[in-house]
Symmetry: C2
Subunit: 372 residues, 2 copies
């Protein structure tokens, strides 16, 4: 915790660490934003100042991800779980239409189960509880009449991440992807997607804001029972200002996007992400089995790395000791999700290479001190 604000290195899976620079800026103008005489939190969402904030955020996001004009960018409430409902409500025009879901972990599974409420959605692979790899595309049972193909680009709990876009889905079926946990940590060809969404609290902001990037020609077919705030067309037509948005969260995302630009954009984020994740995977691989990653090598996540301490099944005592000593060394939120146990290191955009090196060195030293 050697810094002027006594801050920890926070490896939380979300809400997550923010770049310190943007917190300093937010604090400095919290009582009076840009000579407006108000806090950002007090600005009317119809004010010129807030219009500038949301317009800049959209512009920066569009620029950073090269979002084409064919796609709208929406800032919405409800979290990723809100999108579990909003996607089928908007992309299936009635409950007889179908969509394909590829389930690779807890989040795609939850999304699939929610979508069952709104259409004839189908899991393209048999049900399983083991999520350590991406089922081979040759085994997927795709539907020719699917209105979209859904997958989760990174499963935060299981640490399974797609390294490329699924290539075997027919081109006429829009790809829909939950990118909450690896959004803006790597370059993505947005033009290949029908819809991408990301809850902000991992890589670009704070809880309470979700970004949706959606192909405009898919809008306007929402089911009649779509709640108005979940209707993408309503949100798109109103530049995400149909009703009062989460203004402060949009402001924080705006600051975060400027920070990403300053740091070199997505290519820099991706390069950092490779370096950071390699450090941790190398520590695992070079541990002679003291650390263990259950995930297949070709789909190991760069951003959420679950691992065990003390062998492939984990040693609960050693893992508790690991967490305790890590905390004493200023690293928090390293505990794995309760459904899988062990350790999880989330290496989102605001975790620096230096932060990761602290963890890497800790892992090496802990291994030396605790292996037989």
């Amino acid at each position: 915790m050697a810094n002027q604000f006594n801050r920890c290195i926070n490896f939380s899976a979300g809400p997550s660490r923010l770049p310190e620079e943007i917190l300093v800026k937010a604090a400095s103008e919290l009582l009076n934003y840009d000579q407006s005489g108000c806090s950002v939190m007090e600005l009317s969402h119809r004010s010129a100042q807030f219009a500038n904030i949301i317009t800049e955020a959209e512009k920066d996001l569009r620029e950073l991800m090269s979002v084409p004009d064919t796609h709208a960018i929406l800032f919405v409430q409800g979290g990723g779980s809100g999108q579990f409902s909003a996607i089928p409500l908007n992309l299936l025009s009635n409950s007889n239409e179908s969509a394909d879901y590829l389930i690779t972990g807890t989040w795609s599974d939850k999304s699939y189960k929610e979508a069952l409420k709104f259409g004839k959605v189908k899991s393209v692979t048999p049900s399983t509880k083991v999520y350590t790899s991406i089922p081979d595309p040759s085994t997927w049972n795709l539907s020719s009449d699917a209105k979209y193909f859904y997958y989760c680009a990174n499963e935060t709990i299981h640490g399974v991440e797609w390294q490329e876009i699924p290539s075997n889905v027919p081109e006429n079926i829009p790809l829909v992807s939950d990118m909450s946990s690896n959004f803006m940590t790597r370059a993505v060809d947005v033009s290949k997607f029908g819809l991408i969404y990301a809850a902000a609290q991992k890589n670009i902001g704070i809880g309470g804001l979700t970004v949706v990037i959606v192909r405009k020609d898919l809008l306007g077919k929402a089911q009649p029972v779509t709640p108005i705030v979940f209707d993408y067309k309503t949100m798109a037509d109103n530049n995400s200002l149909y009703n009062t948005p989460p203004c402060f969260a949009i402001y924080m995302t705006g600051l975060y996007l400027k920070w990403i630009k300053e740091k070199g954009g997505l290519s820099a984020m991706e390069e950092n992400s490779k370096i950071k994740s390699n450090m941790i995977y190398n520590a695992i691989e070079q541990s002679n089995g003291f650390y263990y990653s259950p995930v297949a090598a070709n789909c190991r996540s760069r951003v959420t790395i679950p691992f065990r301490v003390g062998g492939s099944n984990g040693n609960p005592e050693l893992e508790a000791k690991f967490l305790k000593e890590a905390q004493a060394a200023g690293m928090i939120q390293l505990k794995g999700h309760r459904s899988v146990g062990g350790i999880r290191a989330s290496l989102f955009n605001a975790i620096s290479i230096e932060d990761t090196r602290v963890l890497e060195q800790f892992m090496i030293n802990f291994m030396k001190a605790n292996s037989q």
Copy 2:
């Protein structure tokens, strides 16, 4: 703007002025909350620190409003417009069930129109475009089979506010009320309501958070097409932590509620509200028609006061001059909603008596300088 932060007096209808004390506190701990080593924005919503924040906020709200154990308190996303959908989705178990709506302005009208998607809802009075009074209860066409009776406790645009609970609705029909704009500005007997909701950005916080107080026995009957994040039972069963909540907005509401407690609770807020609104209405009444309130005396809002300058139809030039000179004197966001024109002064909890006096004196001086 005579204060150390050069802050304006912000009469915005929402997002609105916040107590300066809570902004100072938020700024002071923005980089490191309560020695956690993290910003509140970076805290996991499953952390002990955040559990404490949301538990305290609920406890304080329950205490301040004397919310009985029969009622759950939920912190949700989606704004008031989200509740327009969530209410019929949760309180009508299928689309053949009915509910009664009393329309007294733009917001209850919008809510009614959204509810038509989800059930056989009915407006109990004939359609109108003139909202300057509450239709006499003897004219309401109530349904005996309504699952609830809906009304908007204060219409922010039209300035029509209920001074008491509607007394003629049969006791077996739950009262549902949008209290966004007068929430916690007056005492309310919560036990008389099936559901109360309030978007936080007017009287208790910032955009992106909505508080729902709902009678527990009404839960668990949601329609199958209810998006999971709008399912009150799911939210109640998970203490509003089913998914990542708008953590920072909940924290700000927590600070605001502590501020209300320190200031003397709802009785103090109500007393202030009476004093503040009387100052403005007196300035209107004593202006010999220079200022004009279109609202019937028995339902004039204490919190959102629309009025005209230069006679009952308003003088656009005088109104523009009023706004310009008010702004020069440090008062902003006094422009009336575009649908009604004129001036609107929103006097929510964070607007002090002293703030209001500045406006009152300005009104008196402006009248002297500009009347024939």
